[in-house]
């Protein structure tokens, strides 16, 4: 074989390897389909799904959720997270979501004034039968936000009823745990259902938001999804119809007075 032929073979092989790498990188390690309905299968026993690497998540099909940039201070995010993948399950009295998204930097420590942490949040209506205004809800339709931030690796339960109203929400317990690997965050968020009568419904609205700390994203500067539908019927634990819930009087004593 001539020297020229050897060089051509090497170039072709290198090009093939590069192209296949780029193709794999483009499609990503998981290929979730885009969907507007997020099914919530019921899971009994087994290990705690709070660990992002818990085996139980391997059996649950993720959906892909597109995101777009959002801001309320006139400074649009530059590094928009374009989509995330999400899985959901119900185990006992808890709802779990495993959310995963690409981020080139893990901003998990705030050591300087100029640093911001990566974060993710799940937003659901306080009363599951409602579909409030997507941006932090409204006074007559508050939203419950389960917010996880990378520097604390913990979740907070929050309630909001308009811009600037977000407050702690001790009525709903929340848990969260995340890990960063191979350029992706994988975070499990959990919300207690308990005996919450407002959440005995077949379906509820749900939305997601991601903050990229490297882009100084915090507050309104973030990437958000539209409302999706959380399908709770898979577990077969529906105990009340939508109409029954809607006719129930609403207790708002836990909502801050200033925007009740």
């Amino acid at each position: 074989m001539s020297r020229r032929a050897i060089i051509i073979i090497i170039v072709v092989l290198a090009a093939a390897v590069t192209l296949s790498y780029l193709w794999l990188g483009h499609t990503g390690p998981t290929q979730a389909a885009r969907a507007d309905i997020l099914p919530v299968p019921a899971v009994a026993g087994g290990e705690d799904p709070l660990a992002p690497a818990a085996a139980v998540w391997g059996g649950i099909t993720p959906i892909q959720v597109p995101l777009s940039g959002m801001d309320i201070k006139g400074e649009w995010p530059v590094a928009i997270t374009t989509s995330l993948e999400v899985q959901a399950l119900r185990r006992g009295d808890w709802l779990y979501w495993r959310v995963s998204w690409a981020d080139t930097t893990a901003d998990s420590r705030i050591q300087d004034i100029t640093q911001f942490a990566d974060a993710v949040a799940v937003q659901v209506p306080v009363e599951a039968a409602q579909r409030p205004y997507i941006c932090m809800g409204q006074g007559t339709g508050p939203v419950n936000i389960i917010y996880w931030r990378a520097d604390t690796n913990q979740a907070e339960s929050l309630v909001g009823g308009a811009y600037g109203t977000l407050s702690r929400y001790p009525l709903v317990e929340a848990k969260g745990q995340g890990s960063y690997q191979n350029g992706r965050w994988t975070v499990v968020l959990a919300r207690a259902l308990g005996q919450d009568p407002a959440w005995q419904v077949p379906q509820a609205s749900i939305a997601f938001a991601v903050w990229n700390g490297a882009d100084e994203q915090r507050g309104g500067r973030k990437s958000t999804s539209n409302w999706l539908t959380l399908d709770l019927r898979a577990g077969g634990q529906v105990t009340a119809s939508r109409n029954e819930v809607a006719s129930r009087p609403v207790a708002r004593s836990h909502i801050p007075r200033r925007w009740r």
Partner: protein, 315 residues
């Protein structure tokens, strides 16, 4: 605006640069984790880059249309990275990390050629503005201005560490605490004020340069110096926040010739003082000189009596 407003007057002519105010504030409020780098009250040498470094170039405040502006976010190195002393190496101890900036880093550097060098000290607490840019920029409704005394406070329950207040304040007086993930700032010592005691920086001032009280108290020194005699002016009025800390500007030491003879002109360029305190500083300095001359002639000057009095606060 609030119904009543507490305000402070700082007579720069009497400032020793001793930092007793800074330390009084630091001892009282700034001993917690994450507060190491903070001086809610700072005293910087002017001319100079100040604290945080080049704060006047960072933007913030309101534009001509009244829109709040988001300026730059300073890093810890712009305030000065807090250092520890290497006590185990006594007697030759060194600060670690190696300091590169800090409060009053350019102490007494000043400007000018000997013998006509000049500088002065500029003490800077929060201005508790009538139009606080920090409040306007906060999307959390975490900052509020008290109706009863106009003190501007950051609600530590509502703050979520977004730092828009730090960016919007043109004086860079809100400080971000990396440990608590919240912003904090000078509180005009409101727990003291509520008990009739002036803020620590006022009470402890060795040079007795600070006056404190309600702006509508016509018998108080603040009203007299700001409204009656009109010799106290705010810092950078062009920022549009309407500060409630006022300064009696420095009367310049005269320039001297080679043999030490006074040459009439002041050493501090008037343009420099105008760049800090606005165009009214010219009139203020004229008034001060006239009243000093009157007092020297043995006549009564209520203005000079107010400035040298130890009746410095009424709260």
């Amino acid at each position: 605006m609030s119904q009543r407003q507490l305000a402070m007057v700082i007579d720069i002519n009497k400032c020793l640069g001793c930092q007793t105010c800074t330390i009084a504030d630091k001892n009282m409020w700034l001993r917690g984790p994450g507060q190491e780098y903070m001086c809610w009250n700072s005293v910087e040498t002017r001319p100079g880059d100040g604290y945080p470094r080049r704060w006047e170039k960072m933007g913030g405040g309101f534009d001509a249309n009244g829109e709040v502006q988001l300026g730059d976010l300073p890093g810890v190195e712009d305030y000065g990275v807090p250092w520890e002393w290497d006590w185990e190496k006594l007697p030759h101890i060194f600060p670690r990390p190696q300091p590169s900036w800090g409060p009053n880093w350019q102490e007494d550097v000043g400007e000018g050629e000997y013998p006509n060098t000049w500088y002065f000290y500029l003490p800077r607490p929060c201005n508790h503005c009538n139009k606080p840019a920090c409040l306007a920029a906060c999307p959390r409704q975490a900052i509020y201005k008290r109706e009863e005394d106009g003190i501007v406070l950051i609600d530590q329950e509502r703050c979520r560490g977004y730092r828009y207040c730090v960016r919007a304040c043109p004086y860079k007086k809100p400080y971000y605490n990396v440990q608590t993930n919240k912003a904090e700032k000078c509180i005009f010592c409101f727990p003291r004020v509520e008990k009739g005691v002036p803020p620590a920086c006022v009470a402890q001032c060795a040079g007795r340069i600070r006056f404190f009280g309600f702006m509508d108290d016509t018998e108080g020194p603040v009203y007299k110096l700001v409204k009656k005699f009109k010799v106290a002016v705010p810092l950078h009025p062009e920022y549009g926040t309407e500060p409630n800390v006022y300064y009696v500007p420095p009367i310049s030491t005269p320039r001297v010739g080679n043999n030490g003879e006074p040459q009439g002109q002041g050493r501090i360029p008037l343009a420099y003082l105008e760049s800090l305190f606005g165009p009214s500083v010219r009139q203020v300095l004229d008034t001060l000189r006239q009243e000093i001359a009157r007092a020297r002639r043995g006549e009564t000057s209520e203005l000079i009596q107010t400035l040298v009095s130890n009746q410095r606060w009424r709260v």
